[in-house]
Amino acid sequence: MEYTRKDAKAWARENLKGMVSGCNQVFTHDTLELDETALRHDVNHLVGLEVGGIYFAGHVTLTPAEWRQFVKVGVAATAGRTVTVVDIHPDSMSEFIPQAEYAQSVGADLLNVITPPSFRASCEQDVFDIYKRLSQAVDIGISLFINPKAGYTMSPQMIADLAELDTIVATKNSAYETIHTLETFRLAGHKLVVGVPGAQDWAVFAGHGLQLSMGTPHARMFQTHEHRWAQEYWDFLMMHDWQRAWQIHEERIRPLLDLFWRTFGPYFHQAQVYPLGHYKYWEGLLGMSGGPMRQPMPTLRSQDKHLIRNSLIRSGLITSKQAEEAERRMELVLA
């Protein structure tokens, strides 16, 4: 990281801009080990898309050692070409601060933090205390991950209170509640950078000071090097060019959002799980590595593949030939 504790907020305001794209680990097809080469390929792919940052999200099936390897390789591969954010969401409290320390030690720019499943808050003060403790343990800036999967949803007032701490500099607002995010902008938007991941919400908050899409899947799923639709949509919104933003939303983004929610909605809402195999297949078609995920993970069925592939072709994001080549590439790796 390039800033000191006291400069963290100014650094965040200056540097946390645009779409910070999610990036997941990649496994080898045969032994399901971490595939460092493929991860580097994905980082280069995202850097080539000129994203505002890369958000490294380690899945729960990684061992502590693998998690460290994933973060280290990811940050090193980025090599300062864009901002690096490391997702901290370990299984246990014992790994909570060590993971944060490790991410800082390998040179990450920022942490995005959610408490482990074993953390149970009996009151808001417990939530405040755990984040405060973390912010005192490390110097690196912290983004609060507001998501019901924590087992609680941090209130906008709590976010505003935490935003008083010098290294709490951003949020990733995945509360699935528009008014929660609106209130976060009102109460804390001047103290930290409120990040809104989903493209479905960008237009809603573009008039409220939005400058960051933190850990978004849509930077890698709604564009290719050839067709930079997500970026164009984002840029029009940032310019408050509502007319052109609406046009690209209707022509390009809405059909992809429909596909996204059709594919992932049931998993988010009912199973409360991220079907990373589905993500991998989708992004694999668009030029990233793709590949298998470890269990437990919802199965990517052939009808899911058909829906994703055919919809992406129909949207014009890729051609049939590109889809075939991508599938062949993914299958070749398997062979």
């Binding site: 008014i179 609106l182 209130e183 479905q200 237009a203 008039g207 509502w242 609406w246």
Partner: protein
């Protein structure tokens, strides 16, 4: 209506304000028939909640004659007290012209127009033309109704074009899409009154000039005479008192959660309104219960329990009142005096 065709827009800006409750007819007897006395009671109860207008919605499972009768009763009850907004969403294109003209004839203040299921547009131009034709055929103010149940969602651009027509004065926004809502405010908000029925979206849209809900079920479901929560929430928003508005927003959360739990599936998967659930909910809050003619889904034991328990939990009713207001409660319990809340 109290205005001329050319003054429609100005009248709308001055009168389409505040919370407009939605009223659906009450039926009783065997075979089911429109219960006029109960309809009037329900309308009066809604007015007593302080609404500024009533959305008269009767687009399903009724005869032409019943539709006319319900609208007449509704307009009579609203007259001189609140604005009457008549939903025109018949089965046929011809019916659309007839019903709009009838609403004007009986003195309704404004209509809300949705094309019939048989209308299938091939372009935006088709959508524009049909709405223009209906508006041109009458003097009464017409509000638009962009919602997926039309079979298409009228785009903000079409709304903005239609907003140029003299007596197109408003839009009841139900596209389930805030990007659409925002764009509509930007393109047409200065020409017509944009109404947002969904209370979840009010805090977002208040800053764009939101001045009315234009027909919301929540007026009857999220408040009682003693607990005017929705009105408090709306008033705090109108006063731009954000912290107070947010208090009310979160206070409504348990009701909101149950509303979407019991309605969400029917809205998104079936594409219909589970009016049996609405009638049960409103019945628990002192409106008349009503059987609804088939086909209308909903009201399982689980759905009833969800509704009943949340209304008790938030303090709108107590156990005794809930028991007395069950549709199949013994008459003695209904007359025992409980349930006055």
């Amino acid at each position: 209506m109290e205005y001329t065709k050319k003054d429609g827009k100005q009248w709308a800006r001055e009168h389409l304000k505040g919370i407009f409750g939605a009223s659906i007819p009450t039926y009783s007897g065997d075979p089911l028939a429109l219960d006029e006395k109960a309809c009037r009671q329900d309308l009066q109860r809604l007015i007593s909640l302080g609404v500024t207008g009533i959305y008269l919605a009767n687009s399903f499972n009724c005869t032409q004659e019943e539709w006319r009768r319900f609208m007449q009763i509704g307009v009579e009850e609203c007259a001189g007290k609140v604005v009457s907004l008549v939903l025109v969403h018949p089965d046929t294109i011809a019916g659309m012209f007839e019903q709009t003209s009838y609403a004007e004839q009986i003195g309704a203040d404004v209509v809300n127009l949705m094309t019939p299921p048989s209308f299938v547009p091939s372009s935006d131009e088709d959508i524009y033309d049909i709405h223009k034709k209906v508006a041109d055929s009458v003097n009464i103010g017409v509000t638009l109704y962009p919602a997926p149940k039309a079979g298409y969602v009228m785009s903000p651009h079409v709304i903005a074009r239609l907003a140029e027509i003299t007596n197109i004065v408003g839009s009841k926004q139900s596209p389930a899409d805030n990007v659409h809502n925002l764009q509509t405010f930007r393109l047409a908000g200065d020409k017509i009154v944009i109404g947002i029925p969904g209370e979840r979206d009010w805090p977002l849209l208040i800053e764009y000039g939101l001045q009315t809900t234009m027909g919301t079920p929540f007026a009857a479901m999220f408040q009682t005479l003693e607990n005017p929560w929705l009105q408090e929430y709306w008033d705090a928003l109108q006063a731009r008192n954000w912290s107070l508005a947010m208090e009310w927003y979160w206070r409504l959360a348990p009701l909101r959660e149950v509303f979407w739990r019991v309605n969400g599936f029917y809205f998104s998967q079936v594409g219909t309104y589970p009016f049996k659930i609405w009638k049960y909910w409103m019945g628990m809050l002192g409106f008349n219960h009503s059987s609804i003619r088939q086909p209308v889904p909903g009201l399982s034991k689980t759905e009833k329990e969800l509704v009943r328990s949340v209304l008790i939990r938030v303090g709108f009713i107590d156990e005794a009142t809930a028991a007395a207001r069950e549709p199949d409660a013994p008459v003695a319990a209904k007359l025992s005096g409980v349930g006055s809340k």
